[in-house]
């Protein structure tokens, strides 16, 4: 088909969201192309985590339009009312995205390997003997083969987060969403997690990373978005963004972060 254009992996337009009287997202638009890594930075309470959670329906939006790989998740009619697609559709579309949480959220009653194979078995119906070898490969990739039969409570924070990454990857997502993946970690443990994410970037995984790690954002991301008070204040190519931010609020934020 000669006239098709390449659809962005995620296309979010004019997303609004409030909690009670607080407007947490005020018209956020963002699109991410295949293989791109976007870092979202900004002060706490700026709405960056909420925005990420809206993309895979952990939060519902008030207004706006979200498409994942060209498939509509939610749109807004002329009266400003949002309409989600059917529940089964939502689940199917959101499965294109894997998510890694600040608090890991591993299943504590399952061993590391069970954590990884559970969703492919239950959600996709893949037989155990088929998913196991793939899970082993993922475990090796995040460097935790030795911890295969341990329970999450027996792991360090960094190890837990790497298991969480492997667990999300086991569902073979096209996009990975990271919600402050290193914020709950002791400083000496952030490196191992960031290296794992870095390795994914080198495999051209499409990623959206909410982070406070400026060095990581500069190094790994293609593009950086700065959010403040529910808006994307400024965004741009990573190296240029950090070298010469345009907006006053960005400058102040970056100065405080360094």
């Amino acid at each position: 088909m000669p006239f098709t254009t390449i659809k962005p992996m995620i296309d979010a337009r004019d997303v609004y969201k409030h909690f009670g009287g607080l407007e947490v997202l005020r018209g956020v638009s963002l699109s991410i192309s295949k293989g791109e890594v976007i870092a979202i930075i900004g002060p706490s309470g700026s709405g960056k985590s909420t925005f990420l959670r809206c993309l895979n329906h952990l939060e519902t939006i008030d207004r706006g339009h979200i498409e994942i790989e060209g498939e509509l998740l939610v749109e807004t009619d002329e009266h400003g009312k949002s309409h989600y697609v059917a529940d089964a559709e939502i689940r199917r579309i959101c499965r294109k995205m894997g998510m890694v949480f600040q608090q890991f959220n591993l299943f504590p009653h399952m061993t590391v390997i069970q954590n990884i194979i559970e969703a492919p078995m239950i959600v996709k119906g893949i037989p155990r003997q088929e998913i196991l070898p793939r899970a082993e490969v993922l475990l090796e990739k995040v460097g935790l083969t030795a911890k295969r039969n341990n329970y999450p409570s027996q792991l360090s924070g960094g190890q837990k987060q790497r298991v969480a990454i492997a667990r999300a990857l086991a569902m073979e997502p096209d996009i990975m969403l990271f919600d402050e993946p290193t914020s709950a970690l002791d400083p000496e443990l952030t490196g191992e997690v960031l290296r794992t994410i870095h390795a994914l970037a080198e495999e051209h995984m499409t990623m959206l990373v909410v982070t406070h790690e400026m060095a990581f954002a500069r190094e790994v991301a293609n593009k950086v978005c700065f959010m403040d008070q529910g808006e994307i204040v400024e965004s741009g190519e990573a190296k240029a963004f950090f070298a010469s931010p345009n907006h006053e609020r960005t400058k102040i934020f970056l100065k405080n972060m360094l």
Binding site: N56, H57, L58, R91, C94, R95, M97, G98, M99, F101, Q103, N105, L106, F107, P108, H109, E118, A119, I122, V123, K124, Y151, P152, S153, A164, R167, A168, M171
Partner: protein
């Protein structure tokens, strides 16, 4: 000694009634309690409110009253009026009553699981039912073992309430001998029966707790 051995026969007869009531009540009230707990946390206000009302009613009135009501008064209630024989009436009362208590234990267990567990399950594509079955329930069981152990031990002893329906359970069997022979020894033997049942339960729950201790939350 021979005297005690002689009374074991009728007391064992009584104990089988007690055990039958105990097990049938558990088999009925555990699933019913779980269903009530799930309805209780439902998003639909009308559903959770009515379950709340039910739990209030069953916990707020004596089990003995409920039993008497089902046996004596239910036949006169229009539409649902049925005359149940004594043992089934006791079973219905016990199951309905214990389901209310179990429902609250299940609910507390379910609600003690962090929101993050639901979120990660959802992000992995689990449906609500899959999340409950594979993620929430297994973790809930570990947490509710201590209150469950409490409640089932209470049930062992509550079974003695069925004497009001003139059923020959363990305690009534003992009392019959006491009244016949003018000796209190049968009470001690009955106490030993109850203690053994409780001991078995305690041991069973301890084993379960140990099995679930392989992981920490």
């Amino acid at each position: 000694m021979d005297y005690i051995l002689n009374m074991l026969g009728p007391l064992w007869q009584g104990a089988t009634v007690t055990l039958k009531l105990f097990f049938i009540t558990l088999v009925l009230s555990l699933p019913l309690g779980l269903i009530l707990a799930l309805l209780r946390i439902s998003r639909f206000r009308a559903v959770s409110t009515s379950v709340n009302g039910y739990i209030w009613l069953m916990r707020g009135t004596p089990l003995m009253l409920q039993m008497l009501f089902i046996y004596f008064a239910l036949p006169f209630v229009p539409v649902i009026g049925v005359k149940l024989p004594d043992f089934p009436a006791a079973i219905v009362a016990f199951a309905l009553n214990y389901a209310a208590y179990f429902a609250e234990i299940f609910r507390a267990g379910i609600q003690s699981i962090s929101k993050g567990q639901y979120e990660s399950a959802k992000a992995l594509g689990f449906t609500y039912a899959q999340t409950m079955r594979r993620v929430i329930m297994p973790q809930m069981i570990k947490r509710i073992l201590p209150p469950m152990s409490n409640e089932t031990i209470t049930l062992v002893k509550d079974t003695s309430l069925i004497y009001v329906l003139a059923l020959n359970d363990l305690l009534r069997a003992a009392r019959n001998i006491v009244q016949r022979d003018f000796t209190t020894t049968p009470f001690l033997v009955a106490a030993a029966f109850y203690l053994i049942m409780t001991l078995v339960l305690t041991w069973g729950f301890q084993r379960l707790e140990k099995r679930y201790a392989v992981y920490d939350d």
